[in-house]
């Protein structure tokens, strides 16, 4: 993390903010909610409390504007610079400006910028943080579409803001995370200033238990997705990754965010196109492409880009056949064949899985190709199928790869 020169900070814990105007791209209540949730991210890890003003001069004045807007840093039209904010101080100090030429949204889709994420970043500046060079940190200068449900402030940002303001007075009972800004909650429109701070949060929320990683040799172990990656095999479940590598004997235990910080936990499917050094992850109706640790720009994209009908909201599993160069997508009891060269679905699909893969008469959680065979994972079992001869070879426990 970094701070501004001489580390300017607010010399008080009660900081005021005021929303001067709104973007026509979103409902006013969604703008207010995005700003409030963004401030809550910072108040939940510091002693700071934010009070909204509706008139007069607030410490943090928030506005939308395009092009030249009265300071020395004109905006540049769509793309490029999305917003900027000033470090704590009088007058323009603390103010945050958002480029109205962008398309603002409360979602984390591909055709707009999520106001909650950008506001959380800009308000970090309003509180005195500079940019971070930690990929995946909120204060990283480049916009990265992230899943904002259950969004948690990355550690680097917590370290930075607490270097300026210290930790909260009493440790928050709940992990520092924002609520999904998309969750519509009635925002009071009372004239009285509203306060946003964790201590005001409803206490009926039970502390969320972070699920623990299942044992490697748990006979009931199931997986969400499995893929090869540069000769290794990655097994995904929730936010956890089991990494099996020919380069070291033990199974390595990681988390998704340790490899790809912006990606949401819990993939539905994953596959590798080895000759492109590309792995594709699927979650709900979107997909991401990565090369090693690097997320390719322009993602996530809707799965309809691949040719799925709108009736398909998510996929169960995917595998790329390195021999035929076809990628198979599994949804329910059907599957599609996708041509990686033409980047389009093949004609005559979807087909029934059971018709072409003997012994696979049920839905599929994940599929892996190894040594020319396909391994279909369904619950705590996997089915090894010889693709060429279309024969079911054997059934094993899903975690047989972990030397149990």
């Amino acid at each position: 993390y970094s701070t501004f020169p001489l580390s300017p900070r607010w010399k008080k814990e009660d900081v005021t903010y005021r929303i001067l105007n709104y973007t026509p791209d979103m409902l006013q209540s969604d703008v207010e909610e995005a700003i409030a949730k963004a401030l809550q991210l910072w108040s939940s890890v510091t002693p700071l409390r934010f009070t909204r003003l509706y008139t007069g001069q607030a410490d943090i004045m928030i506005s939308f504007a395009a092009g030249y807007h009265g300071d020395f840093y004109s905006f540049d039209g769509p793309g490029g610079t999305l917003a900027h904010a000033y470090p704590p101080g009088n007058g323009i100090g603390g103010d945050a400006h958002f480029d109205e030429d962008e398309n603002w949204t409360k979602f984390t889709t591909y055709n707009g910028y999520n106001l909650f994420l950008v506001a959380a970043h800009e308000l970090g500046h309003s509180l005195g943080l500079g940019h971070s060079d930690v990929f995946g940190a909120l204060m990283y200068p480049i916009y990265m579409a992230k899943d904002t449900r259950d969004y948690r402030l990355p550690q680097d940002d917590i370290d930075g803001i607490q270097a300026l303001y210290g930790p909260p007075r009493e440790s928050p009972a709940l992990p520092t995370k924002a609520f999904a800004p998309q969750e519509p909650t009635e925002m009071t429109s009372a004239e009285a200033p509203t306060e946003v701070s964790p201590r005001e949060e409803p206490t009926e929320m039970t502390p969320s238990k972070t699920p623990t990683r299942p044992e490697d040799c748990d006979p009931h172990l199931t997986f969400d997705a499995i893929t090869t990656l540069r000769g290794e095999i990655l097994f995904f479940k929730g936010s956890y990754v089991w990494r099996k590598s020919p380069y070291f004997s033990d199974i390595e235990h990681d988390t998704i965010s340790s490899f790809w910080p912006p990606l949401a936990a819990g993939f539905d499917a994953a596959y590798e196109v080895d000759r492109k050094d590309r792995v594709v992850f699927f979650k709900d109706g979107q997909y991401w492409a990565v090369s090693g640790y690097r997320i390719e720009p322009g993602f996530p994209k809707p799965i309809q880009n691949l040719g799925f009908p709108t009736s398909v909201g998510k996929i169960d599993a995917a595998v790329h056949d390195q021999i035929t160069k076809k990628t198979y997508f599994f949804v329910g009891n059907k599957y599609w064949s996708f041509n990686e060269n033409t980047q389009s679905m093949e004609r005559g699909y979807p087909r029934k899985i059971a018709a072409d893969f003997q012994g696979i008469g049920h839905t599929v959680d994940a599929v892996l190709q190894k040594n020319g065979h396909f391994y279909f994972f369904h619950g705590s079992n996997q089915y090894e199928v010889d693709i060429k001869n279309k024969k079911l070879i054997r059934i094993m426990k899903s975690n047989s790869w972990f030397n149990c």
Binding site: Y73, G80, L82, H84, E122, H131, D133, F135
Partner: protein, 77 residues
């Protein structure tokens, strides 16, 4: 000398504007320092983003420069 293509000119323009905005790059009048100064700023930006530090305007560096981002500089004078 190799002809500088239109695209290369545009890329160079984009890069200078980016480095002026976020890395406190100031165009030198004196041509002797011009190239050196620009290369140093490119190195500074490449180092911030964890790219290979070459001082050259390669595709990876340009790719980062084209990403939507915050308007606050990454380094300050």
């Amino acid at each position: 000398f190799p002809v500088v293509s239109e695209k290369e000119k545009e890329d160079m323009q984009l890069a200078k504007k980016y480095l002026q905005s976020f890395y406190d790059f100031k165009e030198e009048k004196n041509s002797l320092f011009k190239t050196k100064n620009l290369a140093n700023k490119i190195r500074e930006m490449q180092s911030f983003f964890g790219l290979e530090v070459t001082g050259e305007l390669n595709p990876e560096t340009l790719d980062i420069m084209k990403q939507p981002r915050c308007g606050i500089p990454d380094v300050r004078s």
